[in-house]
């Protein structure tokens, strides 16, 4: 660590008050972690497993021999390969070869359709962006799952055959079987929870045709409780959505409304979270009154909890007690279920909510009774009257029953048709006292789906479905229920059947499934159906021309605001006393939360490699799930010491003998469970109602004690290689690789069997947890990969006045002004860089000695990242992967720190210590007190301030996305021996892959750890097969022939041995600059004069203000990332930038017109002059919260 101490001097006493860590190892400062961190990069040979190391040298020689031989053959055919140009026969409308075409469509989901725009290159969709033209700019965002859905389209393992109990059958046989199955008319249909108008219309047709037909909706995480409550209060088909434009105080009771449990569009929420207002143009002090305040009470960290101003960990069984107390306080009483600091918290929270503009949101999967109680609270505080919550009726929504209804009707049904995106056979939900699979065991099961999963294999007839990007359909958006259209981007790649096509076929006399493979000109019946619905229900017109233009308009915009959900009338709920459950008291009988997963949701994305490799926003776990528990719970289960080797006692013992263990420490003394490739986690056995599951444990922070959280959706199929992921004995498992693709195989543990009939959690008294000895499971976590060190990496301030250690106070204004002076910047002049960017050109010696390096007067690109609104959801990371052809590397490689993501989402935990609360005890200060007296006084004060580690010491989670920050004085450029990375005129740090020879010096010299090295041919070889990458050219190639179709044609696909990194989406910047060049010709033509008379200014060659966006910026639904051109004074980026101190008196290219006080540069003091700047997070705590409020907004991150 000596090296790092030298670079980044110790933090001041004041800053040390906040304890900051990334992982348990970091928190406890373990040897394993120190060893890993000291090494900085995994040592290549050491990170290989024993068996690989043995083989390497021999393999190398063998390969050398083989390639020499091949080179001989190669020379014989050293001829120019003939390439072909194949133009269309008939010119295609809108298509310009080489230019993308954009089409609006939408992605159906249970939370409402997401309106998106798909980028198409020559007919291939390659990228999805949110639809910015959607009303009020609420495209609904395009979160990680939307971004990754494009990969699902090209999944080579997608279903392409008709199956009967897992065996391939012919299409004609499938049609015959289908005819047979529906003959009796007693057919049950199970749809997803999304709402489609055309489907509703078709359901009516089917109802008429099949007398005994029944219709249901099912998705595992749809939230039956919320739905039932709304149905009881408002009537059927009513959705309650929050209007975050109006809500100012929000209490999220275990409700991840920003990500996995959407309660309405969140754009307005983020707008009110930004201290300068939606467009960065308000004065932060004036806008302070408009800022919203978020309270979160939850058992385990969610991204919503990370955003909260006040967050309290609470067991799920205690939510009833919590809501009960909130209701009591709002009705004028005082808390009765909680005592002490918790009661205080509840009381002040409830008072704040009741004081106006407050709203309570409860997790959708809690019971109806709880939702009814929350409805009563919201009615009482006026959330409905003031429009903070709006109940909307789904117009013309077909009557769809629940699985309970299916259980009642099942005796009368002969056939069940599963059309839901969920996987009911795998999930096997418990309905009443029966399991789904037992219910349908003697029924004819028909399944329509994109994936060959458990349901597909179990079905009597599986029909391959078309992806939503290959389908016609419609839906309603998640906020106001605006009508959106789903239109296909491409003909079904594998001849899949669209949902509406199947329904249409079933409604015909003779069942014939549409065949898009053999006749690609045939019009899909789904097209006619959607068009028919639109003309009938949405925008009808008798005028033929108007009819046509209306339809074209819908296809162009992707939505029609002519049809929306209507606002429902006032609701009424019977007042009922809440049943308060006992608190879980022992770790062995902890409450068990069945959480939704940020990667696979309910399990449907298990075959999506991008999502699997995107680290979980909270735990930074990739490729698996795990049981999460708090450090205390882990200690109680005797697991914590296994995860974190507590060596302090041992060290003290050695120190007493005069031996410094740090210096005598040897590699052999490191236990097997370390960081990186040797990270194995201990296992526990969880039993609920007689069913046991063994799974790996991860210590998570910010969780309530005696609660464990077990994400759903994993463990869908294993093969014989799963054993290899265990250290010691493997758990018992059944091999069922047929249910997953090579991506989804051997992924984590299945928690569905434990779920029983409880929708969200199992009460502690029904759960028993015991430690499993002798089994450990390999984990790939990225939290300590590419770890950055330095002071004030992420900065946070509070709107409240804070007392600093030393007795002085700072109000909001002063804190704002102080942002750029936090950490090292407070007392250290910026390092003077040896490598000045101004003056002589470093990049291009010879030619332009007289010119500045950053000479482009039209474009100087820059980015800003606003931590106030960044939740750490990682949508940007997946969007970047889609845009920039970033390969997936697989679990083994991730464990070695070789993930290729260009954006790294750092996530820090921070716990304010008592020192940070300042001199609250200063009134007790005596004059001339000695240091010891002072220390004692402070300790006493801390004791008073911090009686328990419960709700008084809020744990904060702060994400910090880091990609290449495009330093103007880039340390990487000076060390490249071949000039493969040099600076461009417009301020980018360019990376020429074809020039790179892979020395990796640049990565070693990057203080931001933003560079990624291609250790293997990840793009060519399949990294998911065991040891495949080590076989080099002899390894198996990527499976399938479709993945490359997703690739962005404007970005090089990188090969083995080159360095890569964020380029600010240079392909988009070049396109914008080239488009601007076309302005010249247009301008000349406008003058009507010869072109030689024309003078082109810098402004003419400039891309229009705010016209250029990068992939991460587009994907960010919070608008945390802003990209722009510093040379354009109208660009929004100006408002997020500060003028650098040293630039003030220098005449520079860069014309910063605004000075945003929240802006700071990462590691500013090392003098790299990064182009990406960050904006400090502002927390808006409740001033009445007393000591708790004083501890909020202190999570400035220092890593040493």
């Amino acid at each position: 660590m000596s090296k790092r101490k030298w670079n980044h001097p110790e933090a001041s006493k004041e800053e040390l008050g906040t304890k900051v860590w990334r992982s348990a190892g970091d928190l406890e400062d373990t040897r394993q972690l120190r060893e890993w961190v000291d090494r900085e990069f995994p040592r290549a040979s050491e990170t290989m497993r024993e068996d690989e190391r043995e083989n390497t040298r021999r393999d190398f020689l063998k390969l050398m021999g083989a390639s020499t031989a091949l080179a001989g053959f190669g020379l014989a055919s050293c001829r120019r390969p003939e390439a072909l140009i194949v133009p269309f026969t008939d010119s295609v409308e809108w298509t310009i070869p080489g230019k993308p075409t954009y089409y609006a469509t939408s992605m159906p989901s249970a939370n409402g359709a997401v309106s998106i725009v798909a980028t198409n290159y020559e007919g291939r969709p390659t990228k999805l962006e949110p639809n910015k033209n959607f009303p009020n700019g609420k495209g609904g965002g395009a979160d990680a799952m939307v971004q990754a859905s494009i990969l699902g389209l090209y999944d080579p393992a997608r279903s392409r055959n008709y199956l009967s109990e897992g065996k391939v059958i012919k299409k004609t046989d499938a049609e015959k079987a289908l005819t047979d199955y529906v003959k009796s008319g007693n057919v049950g249909f199970v749809f997803g929870e999304d709402d489609s108008l055309t489907r509703s219309a078709m359901i009516e047709k089917l109802r008429a045709k099949y007398a005994g037909s029944k219709f249901y909706a099912y998705e595992a995480l749809a939230g039956a409780g919320k739905k039932a409550s709304a149905a009881g209060i408002f009537g059927k088909h009513v959705q309650v959505k929050a209007d975050f434009a109006k809500a100012k105080k929000i209490l999220a009771v275990d409700c991840d409304f920003l990500e996995l449990d959407k309660q309405g569009d969140t754009k307005a929420f983020y707008d009110r979270r930004r201290p300068e207002g939606p467009n960065y143009d308000a004065d932060p002090l004036a806008y302070q009154a408009e800022l919203n305040r978020l309270y979160a009470v939850e058992p385990t960290f969610t991204v919503t909890g990370g955003m909260a101003d006040h967050r309290a960990p609470l067991a799920p069984s205690q939510m009833a007690a919590f809501i009960d107390d909130i209701a009591t306080v709002i009705n004028g009483g005082s808390p009765k279920n909680f005592t002490g600091d918790k009661a205080f918290w509840v009381q002040e929270c409830a008072k704040d909510l009741a004081s106006g503009d407050g709203v309570v949101l409860l997790g959708s999967r809690y019971d109806k009774e709880l939702h009814d109680a929350v409805f009563a609270i919201n009615s009482k505080i006026g959330a409905y009257d003031n429009g903070l919550l709006v109940a909307r009726t789904q117009k013309k929504h077909a009557e769809l029953g629940s699985l309970e209804d299916l259980a009642k009707d099942v005796a009368s049904l002969d056939t069940v048709v599963l059309m839901t995106p969920a996987n009911p056979v795998y999930e096997n939900p418990v309905i009443g006292d029966k399991k789904f699979n037992d219910l349908v065991t003697d029924k004819n099961l028909v399944h329509l789906g994109c994936e060959v999963n458990a349901s597909a294999n179990a079905a009597n007839l599986h029909i391959p479905a078309a992806h939503y990007l290959e389908s016609w359909s419609d839906g309603f958006s998640g906020d106001e229920g605006i009508y959106t259209v789903v239109q296909p981007m491409i003909l079904p790649l594998y001849g899949g059947i669209q949902a509406l096509e199947l329904l249409d076929a079933l409604s015909q006399d003779k069942i014939v499934l549409h065949d898009s493979l053999s006749d690609d000109t045939a019009v899909s019946p789904a097209y006619n159906a959607v068009k028919g619905t639109f003309e009938q229900y949405v925008k009808s017109s008798s005028d033929g021309f108007a009819k046509k233009t209306n339809w074209m308009e819908l296809l162009r915009t992707g939505f029609s605001a002519d049809l929306k959900y209507s606002v429902a009338g006032k609701g009424n709920a019977p007042a009922a006393a809440l049943k308060v459950l006992p608190e879980p008291t022992s770790a062995k009988n902890a409450d068990l939360v069945f959480s939704a997963d940020y990667s696979v949701l309910d399990g449907r994305y298990v075959n999506n490699a991008w999502l699997q490799e995107a680290p979980d926003p909270i735990s930074k776990l990739t490729w698996d799930n795990a049981i999460y528990m708090s450090p205390q719970t882990a200690k109680d289960l005797e697991l914590y010491d296994e995860i974190v080797e507590l060596e302090k006692e041992e060290a003290a013992w050695w120190a007493a003998l005069g031996i410094d263990t740090d210096s005598t420490y040897k590699k052999t003394s490191v236990s097997e469970d370390g960081e990186g490739p040797s990270l194995f986690g201990p296992m526990v056995k969880v039993t609920v109602g007689g069913t046991s599951v063994e799974a790996v444990v991860i210590v998570a922070f910010g969780m309530a004690d005696n609660v464990i959280s077990f994400p759903l959706g994993y463990g869908q199929g294993y093969d014989e290689f799963w054993k290899g992921d265990f250290n010691g004995e493997a758990i018992d498992y059944k091999e069922s690789p047929q249910n997953v693709s090579s991506v989804g195989v051997n992924r984590g543990f299945n928690s569905y069997p434990l779920k029983g009939s409880s929708d969200y959690f199992a009460e502690g008294k029904n759960v028993s947890i015991e430690k499993v000895e002798g089994k450990r499971y390999k984990l790939a976590r990225t939290q300590e990969h590419h770890a950055m060190y330095g002071r004030s990496l992420a900065r946070e301030i509070s709107t409240l006045e804070v007392t600093k250690d030393g007795g002085f106070t700072q109000d909001y204004d002063a804190q704002l002004k102080n942002v750029s002076k936090q950490g090292m910047d407070s007392h250290m002049p910026q390092n003077i860089s040896l490598y000045k960017f101004q003056g002589k050109s470093v990049a291009m010696p010879g030619k332009r000695e007289d010119e500045e390096q950053l000479w482009d007067k039209s474009h100087q690109w820059a980015m800003s990242i606003d931590l106030s609104t960044c939740t750490g959801c990682s949508a940007c990371l997946v969007a970047c992967q889609a845009e920039n052809n970033i390969p997936v590397v697989g679990k083994t490689q991730v464990a070695m720190g070789r993930e290729m993501h260009w954006i790294r989402m750092d996530r820090y935990f921070a716990e304010p210590g008592s020192a940070n609360v300042g001199d609250l005890d200063s009134e007790n200060a005596k004059e001339n007190e000695s240091d010891e007296e002072k220390k004692k006084r402070k300790a006493e004060a801390a004791e008073v301030i911090n009686p328990s580690k419960d709700w008084n010491t809020p744990l904060e989670m702060i994400p910090n996305p880091v990609a290449c920050v495009q330093c103007e004085s880039a340390p990487c450029e000076t060390v490249c021996p071949v000039n493969a990375t040099v600076h461009t005129e417009d301020g980018l740090n360019s990376m020429a892959y074809n020039r790179c020879i892979g020395t990796r010096y640049c990565a070693n010299n990057c203080p931001y750890k933003a560079r990624r090295f291609n250790f293997f041919d990840y793009n060519k070889r399949n990294p998911l097969l065991e040891k495949n990458l080590y076989k080099g050219p002899l390894g198996e190639k990527q499976e399938g022939d479709s993945k490359h179709l997703q690739r962005n044609p404007n970005v090089s696909v990188r090969m083995r041995g080159v360095m890569e990194k964020c380029t600010y989406c240079v392909q988009r910047l070049q396109a914008a600059k080239i488009d601007a060049k076309q302005n010249v010709k247009k301008a000349v033509q406008k003058t009507g004069r010869p072109s030689i008379e024309f003078t082109a200014t810098n402004e003419l060659l400039m891309a229009p203000a705010n016209s250029v966006s990068v992939a991460c910026e587009d994907a960010c639904s919070a608008g945390s990332i802003l990209f722009g051109n510093l040379m354009n004074l109208d660009d929004k980026i100006q408002k997020t930038k500060a003028i650098r101190e040293e630039d003030k008196d220098l005449e520079k290219n860069i014309q910063g017109a605004y000075a945003n006080p929240r802006t700071y540069d990462l590691l500013n003091y090392i003098g790299t002059r990064p182009r990406t700047s960050y904006m400090a997070r502002v927390k808006n705590p409740n001033p009445d919260m007393g000591i708790v409020a004083k501890k909020v907004g202190r999570a400035t991150i220092h890593m040493h």
Partner: protein, 249 residues
């Protein structure tokens, strides 16, 4: 002890070293030349499915480049025409020109069957090079600079090396190639003839030369181009970039 090796063998190692050195040098020199695009690709003239004659269509009939390569000013790619572009003139049912010629049989077949014609690619930059046609054409760089006198080619061939050196030469000295936007698609353009026919242009250029006191001879073909290029570079704010991201990304 007898001398096993005669005296002359003393310089044998030197001789061998010199020979090997010369050989190695020869190989290097040969490879630098014969491995370069100049030797490898210049003159590449593949057979096309239809022996399309640029000389006939452009020089004799006067078609503009953009008649067929229609999006070349808008897109990075210079598109090859679709079959129905050819059919505008050659369609058999509409009494098209030479529609019964056996040479046009592949075109007729494409139109009938919908299966596209497979042209053989002549100019191809490597995968990691992102050349953009529109960026050059809209800034006064003509087709001829990279593709040669296509208007005189009966069969299209690779006329220029299109090596990175060629790109950089032009990016470093664009004045050698810049021409008025109106003349970009005129493959017969040269600056001296242009100003000799165009009085206004001549005056403008002479004024500029006088103003900047350039030492050029406007009556010389190269001098006229240099003057014209320098003026246009100056007026149009042309500053070609040389950093890697310009072409590689």
């Amino acid at each position: 002890m007898a001398n096993y090796f005669p005296r002359y063998t003393n310089i044998l190692p030197l001789k061998i070293a010199v020979c090997l050195g010369t050989l190695a040098l020869g190989v290097v020199v040969a490879f630098t030349y014969y491995g370069s695009p100049k030797a490898q690709v210049v003159g590449y003239m593949p057979d096309q499915p239809i022996p399309y004659d640029h000389e006939l269509h452009v020089t004799q009939l006067g078609l503009d480049c953009r008649h067929c390569h229609s999006f070349v000013e808008k897109s990075g790619h210079a598109n090859v025409p679709t079959a129905n572009t050819c059919a505008n003139c050659h369609h058999e049912t509409k009494g098209g020109i030479k529609s019964d010629s056996p040479r046009l049989a592949p075109l007729m077949e494409a139109i009938d069957s919908g299966k596209p014609i497979q042209w053989v690619r002549v100019h191809k930059s490597p995968d990691y090079v992102y050349f953009n046609h529109s960026a050059h054409l809209n800034r006064g760089i003509s087709c001829v600079e990279c593709h040669g006198q296509v208007d005189e080619m009966r069969v299209v061939f690779h006329a220029e090396p299109l090596s990175m050196g060629q790109c950089l030469d032009c990016h470093r000295a664009p004045e050698d190639a810049l021409r008025p936007l109106e003349e970009v698609f005129n493959l017969k353009y040269n600056a001296r003839d242009y100003i000799s026919k165009n009085e206004t242009a001549k005056n403008i250029l002479e004024d500029y030369v006088a103003e900047k006191s350039l030492d050029v001879d406007l009556d010389d073909e190269h001098g006229a181009q240099l003057a014209m290029g320098t003026m246009l570079k100056d007026r149009w704010n042309v500053r070609p970039k040389e950093s890697c991201f310009t072409c590689h990304r």
